[in-house]
Symmetry: C2
Subunit: 271 residues, 2 copies
Amino acid sequence: MSANSNPLLQTYAQRAAKHSNPAAKLLLETIERKKSNLAISVDVTKSKDFLSIIDSAGPFTHVDILEDFDASLISKLQELSTKHDFVIFEDRKFADIGNTVALQYSSGIHKIASWSHITNAHPVPGPSIITGLSSVGLPLGRGLLLLAEMSTKGSLATGSYTEEAVRMARANRDFVIGFIAQRRMDNVGLVPGAASDGDFLVLTPGVGLDVKGDSMGQQYRTPHEVIVDSGCDVIIVGRGIYKNPDDIPAQAKRYQEAGWTAYLQRLSSKA
Amino acid sequence: MSANSNPLLQTYAQRAAKHSNPAAKLLLETIERKKSNLAISVDVTKSKDFLSIIDSAGPFTHVDILEDFDASLISKLQELSTKHDFVIFEDRKFADIGNTVALQYSSGIHKIASWSHITNAHPVPGPSIITGLSSVGLPLGRGLLLLAEMSTKGSLATGSYTEEAVRMARANRDFVIGFIAQRRMDNVGLVPGAASDGDFLVLTPGVGLDVKGDSMGQQYRTPHEVIVDSGCDVIIVGRGIYKNPDDIPAQAKRYQEAGWTAYLQRLSSKA
């Protein structure tokens, strides 16, 4: 891979200019414009808290845990998306057969495809999950992330599972824009001797500045470890930002600065 | 394993008597009482169709694809569950970290744990997904199935992935009552020389009498192949039963009889 095409050495803006998927382009442009590679994971069960956190900080969602979800919530989310200039990523983790995920993505109460720029899926059902989701999302200009790795203790998304996930992504570049993973996937699952190509985004959960884990198997790393050491593109932070409601703007700023500083350090140290 | 303890050679009633998890016991007793090892997968997007199919046939659900879901739907589903004497299994395929799945299971619009006797989860996040779901479901007497295999082409739930799923189930017998799989799991993932033990239920999707697959990677086998050849306990059938709305009761009866005949054949051929 030439320095010129290595995503690790390029700015988000350079990568945005080269990306053909509209959701990937939007995300990269937004990151550059806002100087923020922070995705905030808003895992709360009340719409009021959900909107208030997003208005304080900006998001990434689990709408299926909102107890009082209704269509008006999506209008409000979209207004906030414009007001605060953020991309919406519903962390749905689709994991069913093609026919079912197509219905789950397009239909139901949540109608995720109609408002979420980006969503994600587990590769475990095989390539048909991409076929099903793509049939709904591609015409709408959406993008999909595959869960190639997880941040939990004892995760089974390792070894050949991760390699297969990356191969499935390479075979579906029009719709699959990247990975949920703990490191860059550029050289994973390549046939020996083949050159890595393309620019898959890597969004990384399990990021925390203060704690190393929770009681339910989640494990945390710092923004520096994730962006500089592992070459990921976006840090996903949840409870670290909103666990104290009065402190959300300050914590969001703290993580945004840590993520951006790490990115600048990566660019300068590797140039 | 002695013949006496081999689930393959026992009746559903014998197995019900020995099971300690209340959801597993309920399912086995219901199968025996109704002479039906058929689970109907009702994957439709309108409540009216959903209730009408269930009233014609009786179910297994994907409530997240219902466009007009509301709390009254659950009351109606529960009334039908009593009227037609069936167990409710929400095929949610949870696949996230422990903290998130606990919220998805207990909260949101759907509040699955409050009405679904059985649900299922992918083992990919590691044991923490069981910890998270169990914290909600065990106090309610619910049971969990792990997706140890999938019926789709190119599924990654194979080999060591399946073995790890079975080991996770063995370590959590109070809440994990069995598997979504294509065959019995009794001897999978055992330390060499160890005896298989316990009675995990095997519920099997991808069952069809008329077709071999769909355009999105689903693959079908017959009830005989699934129950007799592979030793599974429950056949899950969806579109095969309700694709023609006028024919639902006849198709449901046809699959129920095929599943029960196969079970009787297994008992007699192996006794």
